[in-house]
């Protein structure tokens, strides 16, 4: 494979014709040697670096040559390059203009922070590196089903064949993830993700255990005593960091297992696991049967991915010949391990462009950098304009336009460099924070996601800084140095000079619009959060203990029946038993079940009312939340039925299609009319908008608002349901005294009913929205930071434009006043253009805000919100006026004779 085409092109462009063959040939030769030694990606990177190095050497050689010719020809040459003096001057400018330094620096630092942080994350996503010895040689093996267009996970049979016959991949093993109740000593179970995994995994990972041993092949043999290896965090939190833990017994879903080892901190192979047990190989495995598994292995020394793929392909073709009915359409593949885990299951080939497509998300952040640097450019332009005389004189004394541009570029680079340093420090801290938030609130990240900056990210940050310096330094420099010779005449004649052109007008209008829009988004997020947080339910939520009940379908085989119906039957019976036992507890007064609890997010459904519905807020119709609840749900939650009746056992009979709606439903959907006896049906759900209409349900009761949050208001419908018509369901019980203190007892009772019944999120009812609130809090903080940066930049930009505009017209103001013009009219004339720009920006921003509110949030601005937006716009205008005030007063105070002497 040839050297990167662009690198070759670069050298061809820079090398003189007699050198082209040499430098390009050298690059090709070295690149091919690297391909053999280091692989494609490393070779590509190293060759690019070398090409850049050689390009610099060629440019220097050409300069030396030109300098030699210049000296020989006795001509003096104007230099264009950036000198240390420029950087020194750049530092001086930072001190001399502290406002610009702080505002511009913080803005660029923010852009670098967001840009570099995103780059690091998407790089880890697109080009993951396993932090294990020789981690790049660990591979995944998957089977692509060409007829179904998906990955076939039931390949245990094939795995057993490959384990014997595949020579290019060793330590071949399998795993699957199971959620299990880990019960330690006191009978209290808590769910953990368990990896059922081949012992080969630990040989492959080459990580020594902290205590005891890892799993070994003997543990997998039939009849071997059940063992478990635990992770560092589980050891610390669940087993108290007991140094004598090896040999202790714990139970996983009731099965006692001996702890044989503890793995060190951060070890999480195969994904983010903390408990490992031997993979139970069934005695007889037939093709395309058995559990869904994932396969891993390590490339044999000297083997490449391509050679391993070739060998596996041969085995796949052999299997297709031997068993055409099952294997004709199956294509086994060897793929990089992390890629095999990160859900690349939608395509036969894990395409190279896919990684680059992920990387392209960086472009958005580059656009943010451009926007921010365009703002900084505005400030630098205003600063450069105040130095117009200096620039013109320097040009007259022999400095070329290129030299002056280079100087302004160096000044922007100094600012950008300092900002980038700050931004990178923030990125390091921010990544740690963000990964922490994601793991605490959302999902456990795979173990190869590390919150540290890679060298590639540092290079990227440098590139961003250079790019930012070009935008912030070179663009204003080009503008300020245009027509220098003509301006020399104007300046010496005392005439006009620089003006903000159309580009800057666009920048100002855009930034004002963005500044109006961003805080509005933050406002909406905050409003949603407050609505959820402050919602009163009318009963003592802190006295209710809740939990989500989950059961593993595969662990339930009632009479050999593995259907979903049989599973739900068993699940229902289990929850009924749990209910009975809990009701027998002295501290529990009542127990109920529901598929959603009050104040949780409810999936929305689009509904239709038989007749007499109020007009919907938009063309998409009425959207309401729904929940299936026990018939005693409202009694247990001490909720008064406002009209009609509560559910009763007759509502559970087939054909009895009844519903209870809440007060917001009555107000919003029925316009406050009587709801009892009306009929309603679903016409589309959140999951599928193409759904055909469901059956009609009769409304038999109305209850107060219990918090059916959908993102489209609080209108909600309740349906009666037997225990566990769906899985999982939530349990809610009223407890005397401290409800939280009953948690351990609840777990113990659940374990006594069925050790495999897992209780998630055991908490009081007032805390069920904590996760949601944290999610909103995360977005709110992010929106506020972005808004503050936008506001800061915008105000600084407006101030500099105003100051600049007025300062440039000091002479005109003085003369007009001297000729008897009314100072107020003079001021108005000056303010007209900047005020028009700000007003236009505010109008566009307000339009964007209203559009966003309507499209994304499905609502229109209330009068109060509209007033808030207007007040905010007024603040912007106020700052704008303030920015004009100081220079205008100064201009009005100038004596006409002095004004005449001021440069135009």
């Amino acid at each position: 494979m040839s050297a990167p085409r662009c690198a070759v092109g670069l050298l061809k462009r820079l090398a003189s014709p007699d050198l082209t063959d040499e430098v390009v040939g050298d690059l090709e030769e070295v690149h091919r040697a690297r391909l053999r030694r280091h692989g494609r990606v490393a070779a590509w990177c190293l060759t690019w670096l070398e090409a850049l190095d050689m390009a610099i050497a060629l440019v220097r050689a050409r300069r030396r040559e030109q300098a030699g010719e210049g000296e020989r020809g006795g001509r003096s040459r104007r230099t264009v390059g950036v000198s240390w003096l420029d950087f020194k001057l750049g530092f001086r400018m930072l001190v001399r203009y502290p406002g610009l330094t702080v505002v511009g620096g913080l803005a660029i630092a923010f852009a670098i922070w967001v840009g570099a942080g995103t780059f690091e994350f998407v790089t880890q996503l697109a080009f993951p590196k396993l932090p294990l010895p020789d981690g790049d040689r660990i591979v995944g093996v998957r089977v692509w089903d060409a007829s179904a267009g998906r990955v076939e996970p039931r390949v245990l049979h094939d795995f057993l064949v490959w384990r014997e016959d595949l020579s290019m991949v060793r330590d071949l093993g399998v795993f699957r993830t199971r959620s299990r109740n880990l019960i330690v000593g006191d009978g209290r179970g808590e769910p953990v993700d368990v990896a059922e995994i081949s012992a080969a995994a630990f040989r492959l990972a080459r990580v020594a255990p902290l205590l005891g041993r890892t799993l070994v092949d003997e543990d997998e043999r039939p009849g071997a005593s059940p063992v478990v290896v635990i992770g560092y965090d589980v050891w610390r939190t669940r087993l108290g960091g007991d140094s004598a833990v090896v040999g202790r017994t714990v139970r996983l879903d009731g099965v006692p297992r001996t702890v044989v080892g503890v793995m060190p901190e951060r070890y999480g192979f195969p994904i983010a696991h903390e408990v490992w047990v031997p993979f139970p190989l069934p005695p007889d495995v037939v093709a395309l049967d058995g559990p869904a598994i994932r396969i891993f292995g390590r490339l044999e020394s000297g083997a490449t991915l391509e050679r391993a793929q070739a060998e596996l392909g041969r085995l796949g073709r052999r299997a297709a010949e031997d068993s055409p009915e099952t294997h004709t359409h199956l294509r086994p593949q060897v793929v990089p391990y992390a890629g095999s885990i990160l859900n690349l299951t939608f395509s036969e080939d894990v395409p190279a462009w896919f990684s680059w497509q992920i990387m392209s998300s960086n472009l958005l952040l580059v656009m943010l950098l451009v926007l921010i640097c365009a703002n900084v450019a505005l400030l630098i332009f205003a600063r450069a304009a105040t130095r117009e005389s200096e620039i013109v004189v320097r040009n007259a004394l022999g400095a070329s336009r290129g030299r002056i541009i280079a100087q302004l570029f160096a000044e922007a680079l100094v600012l950008g460099g300092l900002a980038a340093t700050l931004g990178l420090v923030a990125t390091g801290l921010g990544l740690r924070w963000a990964y922490g938030v994601v793991e605490a609130e959302f999902i456990e990240l795979p173990f190869w996601f590390q919150p540290s900056l890679s060298p590639a990210t540092l290079v990227y940050a440098v590139a961003l800084t250079l790019f930012g310096a070009v935008v912030a330094g070179v663009l204003p420099a080009l503008k300020v140095t245009r027509g220098l010779a003509a301006r020399l005449k104007q300046t010496t004649a005392g005439g006009g000079g620089l003006h903000f052109g159309g580009l800057w007008t666009a920048v100002i209008v855009t930034q004002v619009a963005v500044t109006v829009t961003f805080p509005a988004v933050a406002f909406f997020v905050r409003q949603d959060r407050e609505q959820i947080r402050t919602q009163e339910l009318g009963f003592g939520v802190e006295r209710y203990l809740t939990a989500r009940l989950e059961l593993d379908r595969e662990s339930v085989r009632s009479g050999g029946d593995t259907t979903r119906a049989a599973f739900l039957e068993y699940y229902g019976a289990t929850t009924r038993t749990l209910e009975r036992r809990l009701e027998a507890e002295p501290n529990v007064t009542a127990v109920t079940f529901a598929d959603r609890l009050p104040r949780m997010y409810h999936a929305w459904n689009q509904i239709e009312v038989l007749e007499g519905a109020a007009p919907p807020p938009d063309a998409r119709g009425h959207r309401v939340g729904s929940a299936s609840v026990d018939i005693d749900y409202f009694d247990v939650l001490a909720t008064k039925v406002l009209a009609g009746r509560a559910f009763h056992s007759g509502d559970l009979q087939s054909g009895a299609r009844v519903a209870i709606v809440n007060q917001p439903f009555v107000e919003r959907v029925l316009g406050g009319a009587n709801a009892i006896g009306r009929h309603v049906r679903y016409v589309a759900t959140e999951a599928s908008r193409e759904w055909s209409p469901g059956p009609w349900h009769e409304i038999v009761g109305v209850v107060p608002d219990l918090g059916t949050n959908t993102g489209y208001g609080r209108a909600g419908i309740y349906h009666p349901a037997e225990h566990a018509r769906s899985h999982p369901v939530y349990i809610a019980m009223h407890v005397r005294g401290d409800a939280t203190a009953f948690g351990p007892r609840l777990r113990a009772v659940a374990a006594s009913v069925d050790p495999s019944l897992r209780l998630h999120d055991v908490m009081t009812l007032d805390r069920v929205i904590d996760d949601e609130l944290r999610f909103y809090g995360f977005w709110l903080r992010l929106s506020v930071v972005v808004s503050c940066v936008a506001l800061l930049l915008s105000l600084a930009g407006i101030y500099s434009v105003m100051s600049f505009t007025v300062a440039r017209r000091t002479r005109e103001i003085g003369i007009r006043v001297a000729l008897g013009a009314d100072p107020r009219r003079v001021v108005l004339a000056i303010f007209r253009r900047p005020l028009a720009q700000v007003t236009l920006g505010i109008v566009i921003g307000a339009g964007l805000t209203a559009g966003l509110a309507s499209l994304t949030y499905g609502r229109v601005l209330t009068a109060r919100q509209t007033a808030a937006v207007i007040a905010y716009a007024g603040l912007m205008l106020g700052v704008c006026l303030l920015a004009c005030l100081v220079p205008t007063r100064r201009a009005l105070a100038v004596e006409p004779t002095e004004a005449m002497r001021i440069e135009g």
Binding site: S2, D21, V23, V24, E28, E29, A57, A61
Partner: protein
């Protein structure tokens, strides 16, 4: 005009070119020879620049070899020492040897 004195890296490049011979000495092989013998990481761009300088000084001459498939069908630029280059190598090594003198037991013998 006296014999040209060589800087350290120039001397390394000249010695590598001398050792590799006129049919095998070119940028890539010279850089590799220096790296293998000295353990230094050598940038090929530096070797390229140094060879250009030495050629300008008249110490080496270069010619294009035959097109080679591993170079994408492009020839190598082969380097040969001119008599002045050989003299410069001798003079520089002689100067080093003279300066080491009786410090051999401190800095090691220079062969």
């Amino acid at each position: 005009m006296g014999t040209e004195s060589l800087a350290e890296f120039e001397l390394l490049v000249m010695l590598a070119a001398l050792r590799l011979g006129r049919d095998e000495a070119y940028t890539v092989s010279i850089a590799e020879d220096i790296r293998r013998r000295t353990g230094r990481s050598v940038r090929r761009a530096n070797v390229f620049t140094t060879l250009q300088r030495l050629e300008t000084k008249g110490l080496v001459s270069t010619r294009l070899g035959e097109a080679r498939p591993e170079r994408g069908g492009r020839p190598r630029r082969l380097v040969a020492l001119k008599p002045a280059g050989l003299a410069a190598v001798r003079a520089t090594t002689e100067a080093i040897r003279a300066m080491v003198g009786d410090l051999g037991d401190v800095v090691g013998e220079i062969s």
